[in-house]
């Protein structure tokens, strides 16, 4: 392939003439190895003389990249003395036409940019709150509707969601729960042994796991596992207009898509909490057996005496609240997805982060309101 090149000669009248040869195309120019700017500077230097004439008749091939290079060299107009074939001239006419188009208006940055951003985020937050209340309200209306028409209960969807976010989550919650139990028990026993307070390992593990760790651990796992999946699913359904298709068939999207998810997580999360709590206690028991020689029988026997049963109820109630919150937050963000990839990823991230934050917040509320319940008296 012959490369783009130029040579300087003298025409018949003795005027300087630049003869362009070779292929002035994107590929040939890229192969030339010289950067765009260096080429252009050199050409511009040569073309600086007023009387120079440009001979483009020997150009083998010219595309818009090559033409644009010359156009820049000519300072955005055709030179006065130019020999060129009609086909190539057409390319320059097109460039000239695109130059004549008025540029898109760019709104200048305001000096109050910071204030505008702040205001916009406050308004966006307000929008979030309103939408969230809207969603809650619609679910309450759905509930009333279901009480009057029990046949409309989306049983299949609820069952599918229970399977997806409950049964399929059992292995991972079991593993995490067991390992946390082992770690907690091991670290606590190291401390307790120093005080000779070995037997209090049961109180320590029982109270912390049943009341606090079990529910929060499961909530974080559920938010990361099912919450993100729900947001992504609703988001993609919005992108592909499936939600609109449902609406046109007269199917309520909140009843068919959101209600089952909320109910399923509300049912499944306390069950997962129970499951994870049991396994965490097993882990703790095994580790305590190794470290402190506390027999399994003693551990199991002491547990109900050390930890009042109210704690279990608090833990399970937390599970219900966390599950509902995670599902609501996930659906809220899922419905906000706009039809592009960026929005999908941003909303999924926001969904998981908000859900976990919400869980911690609810947990704090629980800690304060239940401070006089279920703690052993001394």
């Amino acid at each position: 392939m012959s490369r783009a090149n130029y040579s300087e000669t003298r025409s018949v009248a003795g005027q300087p003439e630049l003869v362009l040869t070779g292929r002035w195309t994107l590929r040939a120019l890229a192969e030339n190895g010289k950067t765009d700017a260096a080429w252009q500077n050199h050409l511009q230097e040569l073309g600086r003389h007023d009387a120079v004439s440009w001979n483009c008749l020997d150009i083998e091939a010219l595309d818009s990249v090559g033409a644009l290079l010359l156009w820049h060299t000519w300072e955005r107009k055709l030179p006065e003395l130019l020999l060129i074939s009609p086909a190539h001239l057409q390319i320059f006419e097109r460039i000239a036409a695109s130059d004549r188009e008025p540029a898109a208006v760019v709104v200048p940055r305001s000096p109050f940019e910071g204030l505008i951003v702040l205001g916009a985020s406050v308004l966006a937050f307000k929008r979030h709150v309103i939408d969230f209340i809207d969603l809650l309200g619609r679910l309450v209306l759905d509930l009333f509707h279901l009480l009057r028409h029990p046949a409309d209960l989306p049983g299949r969807e609820i069952s599918a969601n229970i399977y997806k976010s409950g049964v399929r989550a059992m292995p991972v919650t079991a593993l995490v729960g067991f390992l946390i139990g082992v770690a907690l028990s091991y670290l606590s026993s190291l401390q307790l042994r120093q005080f000779g307070a070995d037997i209090f390992i049961v109180n320590l593990l029982g109270l912390s796991i049943i009341r606090e760790l079990g529910p929060v651990l499961v909530a974080v796992l559920v938010a990361g596992r099912s919450g993100s999946a729900m947001t992504a699913q609703l988001g993609v359904m919005r992108v592909t207009e499936e939600i609109d298709a449902l609406a046109t068939m007269g199917v309520s999207r909140s009843l068919r898509l959101i209600f089952p998810k909320v109910v399923a997580l509300g049912v499944v999360t306390p069950l997962l909490v129970l499951w994870a709590t049991v396994l965490a206690l097993c882990g703790g028991m095994v580790a305590a057996g190794f470290q402190l020689d506390i027999s399994y029988g003693y551990f199991i026997e002491t547990l109900p005496k050390a930890v009042p049963v109210a704690n279990l109820w608090i833990g399970l109630t937390k599970g219900v609240a966390f599950g509902l919150a995670i599902a609501l937050v996930a659906c809220h963000f899922g419905l906000r997805v706009k039809p592009n990839t960026e929005s999908l990823s941003a909303n999924t991230t926001a969904s998981v982060v908000s859900a976990i934050t919400m869980v911690i917040l609810i947990d704090a509320v629980f800690a304060i309101t239940t401070r006089s319940i279920g703690l052993p008296k001394f």
Partner: protein
Amino acid sequence: MNSIIAINDLSTRLGDAWIHRHLNLEIARGELVALVGGSGSGKTTLLRQMIGLLTPTEGSIRLFGEPLFGGGTARERTLRQRFGVLFQQGALFSALNVFDNIAFPLRELKCFDATTIRDLVMLKLEMVELRPRHALLMPAELSGGMVKRVALARALALEPELLLLDEPTAGLDPDLADGFVRLIRRLGEELGLTVVLVTHDVDTLAALTTRVAVLAERRILTYGMLDEVMQLDHPFVRNFFYSERSQRALANAI
């Protein structure tokens, strides 16, 4: 060297069904070729094999006389810069605006400065009959016809010699489709492109193409000028070209 695409004894197997069996096709420079075939006959599969998204089970495909795969990433990349593809749904990057979508392949080359890229993008927009103010729109804000135009501009950004189109007029109303077909034909002539398109729209085919390849019975049944192809006595050809709708379209085009 003059054949842009040379498919030699190609066979494709998806699952346990043969989609193509001993398929041969050679497309010469400057042709406007339509690839037609019944639905499920493997048109899009063949197109995806031509652009290297799928590898054939057996046989070979050469573009510009070179094999699609092998010879290092640099060679593969250079080869892929020589053709542009227009996907059925446009496949615009939804996170980038129109300007950045068209500028993307140019920026990837890393040999142009910002001014040159801006001018090139504006030139491509002008080529596909869009205005500079459209450059700042996001793909989600575009109409179906505009998505196709922007996708075409992006496909043309690297000055390809070969343009492959998957159902270029699908999803456009007849008026827009006519406009888009005219645009492709004009650009094809001006830029000296070889164009291969998959279509099942007889209007598009009659208005745009110089040659037709019929894909049926897992091979290229026939490849030739439109009237030659129509001479062939085969159920698919009869159905495709001699239906009432097709006859009307062909009558309009001639």
